[in-house]
């Protein structure tokens, strides 16, 4: 077995054996924390796909994250219990939403793209909190759906999230190294040149945008299962900023950027929250120092290009 394969198998093995060990040693709290980290790792990786590889700085990624969560909450509220209905419904909805938003936003560039994606996310935020029967600004309870094959306990959710994350990361890895991914990166590097060669830039970007939106919806769906609650915070622009922070922190366009960023940020937040109620001060200082002194993110610190 090659050395590089071990690099993936060892962390995966550790993650697989973690819940029983945590259970035995009374550290179950950390199973939940790791579940949360894996969910955000998925969301951040989806953003990294368009932001890092596609050069599309979407400031509205929370829209899909939140819509995924709200689909679970609203459907279970309306009496739908089967996960086999809820999951496809949420994913299709997020894909359609990303298609709609992307097809308009991708006509703009640069800062204007950042702002118009933000605008659409804000619109969705305000529409969702206006439905008082679905909780309004208080959010909505989201029952865990029925999978039929197994009961979705906290441990089952951990393994489900792990499986989804591994599958999604594998798919993204294949995608960015495929012809499609190469073209996407070519467009990021030089859009007019890619267009001149004959690639339909708009269509490539739109497909990537839809894939990223759907993956973020998948993360949101898991988030609703995790907290059993759909909060308007998931849709808020601060959430988009949070995800973007993870990607930048981890390393933009580095394959492990999203995962590393999510893990680092959430762990730092968790530790600082234990020390002081002013924990955001610490988070802010750390972020500032990283931007000023480690411009390529955590993945960049290891000194090799992930892609």
């Amino acid at each position: 077995m090659t050395r590089s394969l071990w690099r993936y198998l060892v962390p995966l093995g550790l993650l697989l054996v973690f819940p029983p060990i945590a259970y035995a040693t009374g550290l179950e709290f950390y199973t939940g924390l790791i579940t949360k980290i894996m969910i955000f790792a998925l969301a951040a990786s989806s953003l990294n796909l368009i932001l890092g590889y596609g050069g599309m700085v979407s400031f509205g990624h929370a829209a899909y994250f939140g819509v995924g969560a709200y689909t679970v909450a609203i459907l279970t509220r309306e009496g739908v219990t089967s996960a086999w209905v809820i999951w496809p419904a949420a994913l299709v909805l997020c894909a359609l939403l990303a298609f709609l938003i992307g097809s308009i936003c991708l006509r703009t560039r640069g800062v204007y793209f950042i702002m118009i994606t933000l605008a659409f996310a804000q619109m969705i935020y305000f529409v969702v909190i206006s439905f008082r029967q679905y909780g309004g600004e208080d959010g909505l309870r989201a029952r865990r759906p029925d999978f039929g094959l197994f009961e979705l306990s906290d441990t089952a959710l951990y393994y489900l999230t792990l499986a989804v994350l591994v599958a999604a990361l594998y798919a993204v890895a294949r995608l960015v190294n495929s012809r499609f991914g190469r073209v996407l990166q070519a467009i990021r590097e030089n859009e007019s040149r890619a267009a001149a060669i004959g690639y339909p830039v708009y269509r490539f970007q739109l497909v990537a945008f839809v894939i990223a939106g759907t993956l973020a919806g998948l993360a949101g769906l898991l988030m609703a299962h995790y907290t059993q609650y759909a909060s308007p915070n998931l849709l808020a622009w601060q959430q988009s900023g949070h995800l973007m922070m993870m990607v930048i922190l981890g390393g933009v366009g580095q394959f492990w950027g999203g995962v590393l960023g999510a893990a680092a940020l959430l762990v730092v937040e968790e530790i600082l929250q234990g020390f002081t109620i002013y924990w955001q001060l610490g988070v802010g200082l750390i972020l500032l120092l990283i931007v000023l002194f480690a411009p390529r993110g955590i993945a960049g610190l290891f000194g090799r290009r992930g892609s």
Binding site: R109, A119, F126
Partner: protein
Amino acid sequence: MPPTLFLEQILNGVQFGLMLFLLAAGLTLVFGIMDMINLAHGSLYMIGAYLTATFVGLTGVFWLGVLLAVVGTALIGMLLELTILRQLYKRDHLSQVLATFALILIINEVVRIIWGPQPLLLSAPEGLSGPIEILPGLNYSAFRLTIIVVGLIVAVALLLLVNYTRAGMWLRAGASNREMAQAMGVPIKPLFTLLFGVGAALCAIAGAFLGPILAVQVGMGESILILAFVVIVIGGIGSIKGALVGALLVGIVDTAGRAFLPMLLSQVASPEVASNLGPALASILIYLLMAVVLFLKPQGLFPART
């Protein structure tokens, strides 16, 4: 609908729009000239409001408090530029977003440590707390009227500064082509520091006058920052004229939408639908406006770069 109510809401819109302009003006110049995304701009607005509340409490005189707060915020703004923001000009937009987002977190917590988590009380000066009759049958809050007057004076002063002074000429030159301006001998470094000071002072004025109407609390900067960004994107980044038009447009559309949309909806739909949908539609109206403007004119209404 009585015409006085309509007029009152339009005045409220103009008042809010002018305060948005004060925020957007600094933001659009920083953005246009230095090509720098400064999310911490809203934090200066918050600092301005907190300093005003503190100085008004200390001196007991509203206008003196405002003056001290404006000076104080300008100094803080220049200090930020000299120590941190200056390092970010040459970095990409993403680093700027992350660094200034970090600054928001830091400033919010520092404010919370100094002033505590409770919102501060900042009330309008006593002579201006009542309504005055500006037209027969139309009573309007004297304080809001003062805001309009102050906003207009500052806006005119700023337009004169940008359009008719040497520093203003440098600013406009920088906004349309930074490298060329530099090559022609524009003293960029002190100009940037000064610009940050002016931008921070404008933030403080907006914070001082919106403080008594909205609330002086941690997080007040972020919600208005998004609006200010909407304004400069609609107006065209780097253009003062665009910021003014965009700010008035956003101020009026937002205020009028909140006042009239639920009313209009209740005439065509059931009361339940109207009460649900009205506020939502009113909230998304400005974002809809921005999306339409960007769709039709991807560079905003008055692009500064040609």
